[in-house]
Amino acid sequence: MRNRYFIICFVSVAVCPFLLQPLLPVKHVGSVHAAQLELFQALMAEDIVSNAPYHPTVVFSVKQKKAVCFTVFNQVPQKLIIYHNWYHRDVPSAKIRLTLKPPRWSTYSSIELNKTDIGPWRVEITDETENVLEVLRFSVTE
């Protein structure tokens, strides 16, 4: 996996998703895995401040240096592994392993931006069996 320019933040934050909900536009709640794991919210943001996504957006300027993929899961039955797969123009750039813990869990990953990252991106959020729970699309511009 090529992640030389990534700062991989698999800082898992056990925050209450219900507190975050009113702040954020809900990005199409993802599919449920095995009727137990529920992806409640997924979005791109400029940063994480106080365990919450700050400035949700779909366009990142390289001057902002950072892009964050933030996910909230409900009904986590047990300790699970999920992945944030980052693609730049359909080319895999990073596969970040994140751990979820019951009963609810929020977690995020981020990349550091530079000029070579300009262009369209997507993040595929998958479970351990590569089942795609959600796809987030954004662009990196000048």
């Binding site: 359909d90 796809v135 662009s139 000048e142």
Partner: protein, 477 residues
């Protein structure tokens, strides 16, 4: 011997037809114009044309220009000067006589009556001028005259030249079995070696004979002599039989003896043979000369692709052909006359290798393929499929610092694409054209074209190549 047989085997039926048709055209030209000045001038023009070719091959630039100019001007002069002869051949004769017949004669001239009457008039010292046109048109040479169009009889000839008849001083023109014109004025010969006892009538007879291929009979009013003018000769005829024979020979109706008939047949056969040899020679020099080589880059045309498949890649887009042929044919080749076609009807999905042979190459007649580079072509064929793919906006530029693009969705969110299976399987997203952020100042909507790359990809039926983008912009907190 083997080479000869090999050569014979390369002759096509079209070549035989080509030579035959042109030989016959040349032969018919000879038959229609033989004995006329047109034919002699045509021969002269042909000689000039050969001289010009020789001058060109020797590098005599000015000479070749001059001869070329003479030939070009000469062609126009022929048409203008000999328009009457050409018109006579093309209009006066029926189609059969132009294409097939060997004689122009349609009505037999009563030569015996004419000869008898001429000598009877000579005995009475009744002057006369009787013209028998040859193959040349007389209308540009003679002047005046009264149309007559009467069947030839002894009494009619005698009455025309009777001294009290107003037209007796002019000439009578005989065509077929009719006297067509009387009282015609003939051009006078300017020769100064004519006997002193010859008068104007003799000079007129010789004048027309010199200018045309006509035969003119003169009856001297003073001496009662009968003379015949033909070419530049004016000779006295003493006997009726001799005169009759002269007329018949001129008109081509003489009861020719076996030797003469054989001679004429031989002449026609020789002309036919020469026509064939001449055209065959030209055909060989033009179509079978192999002295010039040319190299052409020709695009390969891939045809008959199986339905549901697509060409992904080919090892070459064009091949280099080395062709040979005569200089004239090689110079006249245009790229659209040469084609390289590969039939893909029997190909399978994957890599297919073709060896280019002469069967794949179409060439103009007379041009021979010497070499093909490369001789092998690889064609990659793939199955054609349709696939639904998500659409993603390709944002570029920069929003003002105080704004943030919160959300953007496309309608439709996915589109169906048709194309090669191997290509489509590699594609995960269809991107829009670049959408500029700089011009956005608030929430809104816009349209953007989709970018299909590679160009072989197409939108599936029912799908448009553009999407609507709805975007939400907020001020930064």
């Amino acid at each position: 011997m083997e080479n000869f047989l090999l050569f014979i085997s390369t002759i096509r039926w079209q070549d035989i037809v080509d030579i035959s048709v042109n030989s016959y055209i040349l032969f018919r030209f000879y038959v229609l114009f033989r004995g006329t000045n047109v034919f002699r001038v045509l021969i002269g023009m042909t000689v000039l044309w050969f001289l010009q070719r020789i001058a060109v091959s020797l590098g005599l630039i000015v000479t070749s220009w001059v001869v070329q100019g003479i030939v070009a001007v000469g062609a126009i002069i022929i048409i203008v000067v000999f328009r009457n002869e050409i018109r006579r051949v093309l209009q006066a004769k029926n189609l059969k006589s132009i294409l097939w017949g060997l004689s122009y004669k349609t009505a037999t001239t009563p030569t015996e009556i004419i000869a008898e009457t001429v000598f009877q008039m000579a005995d009475r010292k009744c002057g006369a001028l009787i013209v028998f046109p040859g193959k040349e048109d007389l209308s540009g040479v003679v002047q005046g005259g009264t149309p007559w169009k009467g069947l030839i009889t002894r009494e009619m000839i005698a009455s025309i030249f009777w001294p009290d008849n107003p037209v007796h001083d002019g000439a009578a023109i005989v065509q077929g079995d009719q006297i067509t014109v009387v009282g015609t004025i003939l051009p006078l010969s300017e020769r100064d070696d004519m006997p002193s006892h010859y008068g104007t009538r003799h000079r007129a007879a010789l004048g027309l004979a010199e200018a045309t291929d006509a035969l003119v009979i003169v009856i001297s009013e003073e001496r009662g002599d009968v003379l015949v003018a033909k070419g530049n000769r004016l000779r006295e005829i003493k006997q009726k039989q001799t005169l009759e024979k002269n007329i018949q020979e001129h008109l081509g109706t003489a009861a020719v003896d076996k030797g003469a008939a054989r001679k004429e047949s031989l002449e026609i056969a020789s002309a036919a043979m020469l026509s064939i040899l001449f055209i065959t020679g030209i055909w060989f020099s033009v179509s079978r000369g192999q002295d010039t080589l040319v190299s052409l880059d020709i695009p390969v045309d891939y045809t008959n692709r199986t339905a549901g498949t697509e060409i992904i890649d080919t090892s070459v887009k064009s091949v280099s052909l080395v062709l040979s042929g005569s200089g004239a044919l090689v110079k006249s080749i245009t790229p659209d006359q040469v084609g390289v076609r590969l039939d893909l009807s029997k190909t399978s999905v994957g890599r297919n290798t073709f060896t280019i042979t002469s069967d794949n190459i179409s060439l103009p007649p007379g041009i021979v393929l010497r070499e093909v580079t490369p001789s092998e072509v690889e064609v990659y064929i793939d199955e054609t499929i349709q696939q639904e793919l998500p659409v993603q906006i390709d944002w570029v530029g920069k929003l003002p610092d105080n704004l943030i693009l919160l959300e953007a969705i496309t309608d439709p969110s996915s589109v169906k694409i048709a194309g090669s299976k191997s290509i489509i399987e590699e594609i995960k997203t269809i991107y829009t054209e670049k959408v500029l952020l700089d011009e956005l100042s608030g929430t809104g909507q816009l349209t953007a074209k989709l970018v299909l790359s590679p160009a072989s990809l197409k939108m599936a039926p029912g799908y448009k190549d553009e999407v609507t983008i709805q975007y939400v912009i907020r001020e930064r907190e």
